[in-house]
Symmetry: C2
């Protein structure tokens, strides 16, 4: 009885996870991993930090070397080798040694496709000039580090303001390089809602990173030596001796498509919940495989390291065929990133997505401290909750601030995974001690505000709608004390401190729409209650107050 | 039409929360808060940090002053006033001014009892000596601070090793005071399981705080001036010029009981989910009211700030009687605390509780880094999961380590609140980026280990059972590399590194029970798979490895 042969194409997160898990499940398997790279099992998400010297040594990024797989799991890893053809009828993979050009064939009983995704190179003139790079592999990141140490790079342009592009921009900036981010979409972090992303944009500008959103790159211009010297973006010419392209990735599906494996509507490989493709014995995992969105039940393609690891593990269990089975649950497209001291997290549907899908959407924007205000290190975060008014279910959340955001986003992830309503969210018995949280915690505070809003206790105006409202005649009344108002206020607002509201109420025109604002929204809410008690009808509050206001103040 | 009168007895978390919420809900209410204290709405959970000067000013602890309640909510707060009798038939509360002795009566339509809990004073000889104190109020904490600044306090004994006692011990120690904790129960943190609590005990000892667990205080000894000079505890006489009593609190229920309000089986006031007592129009909230445990559906009494705040809010909504209603969900007894750089969190049932309740319990003890191992600041935490083998539901969790524990405990809180199985826990799409998490995250890693254990892929030996097993002849085999073994190992273990296991397998007696250990458990698991592959039958792994091992190593 020959042992079953498993071939895995691809050697980063999902591929090596599938290999290691399969080996642990079933020691009789004969497992081969083929990879085009020299490195396997490396920390792809750590590459921006390696460039920025937050992570100093290449070896810190390498989780396991090929020989570790042999020693610990009996897995053979074959590097510098490209799989060039799959022959499903023969259950064979043809591969080529990238150094010698020699071809070899590998027989398989089970095949796992884990070749990931490749960076998209925009079809722009000059894109092949020197010092225009992508950063997806340890090899590429090491090349960037070498460039930075050998040449006096002064100006960098990062094309693409998604999460990875921004992480790279931060790390280049921290190396003393003047850095500009160019994003085609109307704002950076295109998957996030504008009210969140514009706050991040403002923060980056304050830190010194220039952001050009809604701007197309027209061409890359030669410095005379075949390297990039400038970038034509929108109407500007940006000096640049280094360009990083980070405009997204495309799943590597050619190998699969050529042998008859079906793709899904997203362009990635279609798999069932066991990570099986349409061809018997062939699995697909990682950045090349589709997922199901847990809320909408639609196919999505989120190329994320966390999903890749889970999928790899599940494929490993299923292909080991020991009787055990595991299946992939839908995903929520959860993300988190850190830029300088700002943390930004997202899960579930954005407000924009939810509206496009036809939900009756309600949102709130709620600043609150991440731990007891008197405990050292307490920082404000802003929570945006997106809820379906009919079912009261939480559809998504976005959180940003210098405080802790990964905890509350993971609470939302867990709650949404179980179909939580905002009412259930408000009742969670979360952990409290002053070094960790406030008594209720930001999640419950946001849920309480949402419950008040759903109950009609107040109406809110989002920061993006404010200008238009004011142009149409609405009066913005800042109810903070005068000391706060004089330090920083929204242009066009007038100041009536909450405690003087009753005596000064005659200054307000009852016919006009009145929008109340304060720092976080609490005093606005108290002012709204007072004005409503006095019979004012057209009163609302500025959602998120000054803390979440993403535009210029004075 | 006169407005409805609301009287609230008690002015800390739950009482002021109920008052403020009721005022916001219904501006027609006439609300009076009676409190025996001089301070209202203070941060009770911050008191230990105030003693340790982490929080420097008394005023930082005071969330709102009485005059703020008047200005913002129209609420009248009457300080230094004790409610001495409730007359339900007359809907009246009799109260006494503690300064003048003057009596006043307050009519109510709705009454909220929020007088909290009082520290328990153990009936031990000498308990009334000077410098033997409890720390439940700002007044008491300020008195301790004064004592520390005016007298040269050198030795402190904290009686009671619960969360509050340990927080106080840490803060006294940080002030340079030699501190000993005396706990009657077999280990500190009596609500936690021993395998967790003993690790905390070991950590405190390493930091320099002496812990005497399983030790009764026999008497407090006069220093000759009417102040405490020493504590007789167990067989020892401990020098002490300051004693803090922190042996728990008892709900203040006399006032309620005398007027016919029913208590529950826990001794606290029985309330329904709207926080109503058995008497019409009388609510009870905070540290004096019972709750329902969400898992067991039994009545419990967890005097926690987070629960008090939620209950206050719910009572406020319900008594405002605007048509809106809110109800309390069950609680999980969630807690978190920080001691030096060690964080300890707990939710749901402990292993001990779960076994006592008759569940078919399975547990795992899983160390894992809290963020990417290569990202600066990455720290190990240990997750204990407690699961019901039959339903596969998560019953509880305990987490400790120098890394982030409040995030994973809140994920467990949320999951348990929705009746999650361990399989569902393993599939959560949690947020991942290197500064925040590993690709899977500690929760999912622990869930995966539990799934392996439930599937019979390994059997574990808990650290508490190890000694007995070894005494009965089991062989402890440490499979780390020799360099690691020589630095630190468990007494009696032998070293066979994982990668040399196959060549040295003849050194192992197949008839003996073999327990494998390594740093975190992963290499032990690989070794177990290898040995099982070779036909070994009596092999298990030391749960939690050296990281979670709470006893002396060499």
């Amino acid at each position: 009885m020959g042992s079953e042969k498993v071939v895995i194409i691809g050697g980063v997160a999902a591929g090596t996870k599938a290999a290691a898990k399969a080996a642990r499940e079933n020691q009789d398997l004969e497992i081969v991993v083929l990879t085009m790279d020299r490195h396997v099992s490396y920390a792809g998400c750590g590459l921006p930090y390696y460039i920025g010297d937050v992570i100093r040594e290449e070896k810190e990024l390498l989780v396991k070397r090929p020989k570790d797989f042999r020693a610990d799991f009996g897995i053979e890893v074959i590097i510098d080798t490209e799989a060039i053809k799959i022959l499903p009828a023969d259950k064979t993979v043809l591969a080529k040694d990238l150094n010698t050009g020699e071809k070899r064939s590998f027989a398989y009983d089970k095949l796992v496709l884990a070749t990931g995704a490749s960076p998209f190179i925009p079809p722009v003139e000059g894109a092949k000039l020197g010092n225009i790079i992508t950063v997806r592999t340890v090899r590429e990141a090491t090349a960037v580090k070498k460039l930075l140490s050998e040449r006096d790079i002064k100006d960098a342009v990062v094309v693409g303001g998604g999460m990875n592009g921004l992480e790279i921009a931060e790390n280049l900036f921290l190396k003393g390089i003047k850095t500009t981010v160019v994003e085609l979409a109307p704002h950076i972090l295109p998957a996030h809602d504008a009210d969140i992303a514009l706050n991040v944009q403002k923060y980056l500008a304050e830190k010194g990173i220039r952001v050009l959103a809604g701007t197309a790159v027209k061409s890359f211009i030669d410095d005379g030596n075949g390297d990039v010297g400038a970038v034509a973006a929108g109407e500007e010419l940006l000096k640049a001796d280094l360009v990083v392209l980070s405009v997204g990735v495309r799943p590597n599906v050619n190998l699969a498509r050529e042998c008859g494996i079906l793709l899904g509507s997203t362009g990635a490989i279609a798999v069932n919940e066991k990570m099986e493709t349409n061809l018997n014995g062939i699995y697909a995992v990682g950045d090349r495989a589709e997922n199901i969105n847990l809320i909408t039940d639609r196919h999505v393609w989120y190329p994320m390291g966390s999903t890749a690891n889970k999928a790899g593990r599940i494929a490993g269990i299923n292909l080991a065929a020991t009787g055990a089975e595991d299946t992939m649950q839908g995903v929520l497209g959860t993300s988190v990133l850190k830029l300088f001291d700002l943390n930004i997290a997202k899960t579930g549907l954005s407000e924009r997505d939810a509206r496009a899908l036809g939900y009756k959407v309600e949102t709130v924007l709620v600043p609150a401290p991440d731990r007891a205000h008197y405990y050292p290190g307490s920082r404000e975060i802003v929570t945006k909750l997106i809820v379906d008014r009919e079912s009261r279910k939480v559809l998504g959340g976005q959180i940003f601030g210098e405080g802790v955001v990964d905890k509350p986003i993971d609470i939302l992830v867990t709650a949404i995974s179980f179909g939580a309503t905002v009412d259930q969210l408000a009742r969670l018995d979360l952990a409290y001690a002053p070094p960790f949280s406030t008594a209720l915690g930001t999640t419950i505070v946001a849920a309480n505000v949402m419950m008040n809003k759903l109950a009609g206790k107040f109406t809110g105006v989002g920061p993006l709608a404010l200008k238009e409202k004011m142009a149409a005649g609405a009066l913005l009344v800042d109810v903070r004390i005068d000391k706060e108002y004089f330090v920083r206020s929204i242009p066009g607002s007038i100041n009536i401190p909450l405690r003087r509201l009753l005596e000064r109420v005659d200054e307000l025109d009852r016919e006009k729409e009145i929008i109340l604002n304060c720092k976080v929204g609490l005093r606005s809410y108290l002012a709204l209650l007072k004005l409503k008690g006095l019979g004012f009808e057209k009163v609302s509050i500025l959602e998120g107050g000054l803390v979440a206001y993403p535009f210029e103040t004075e």
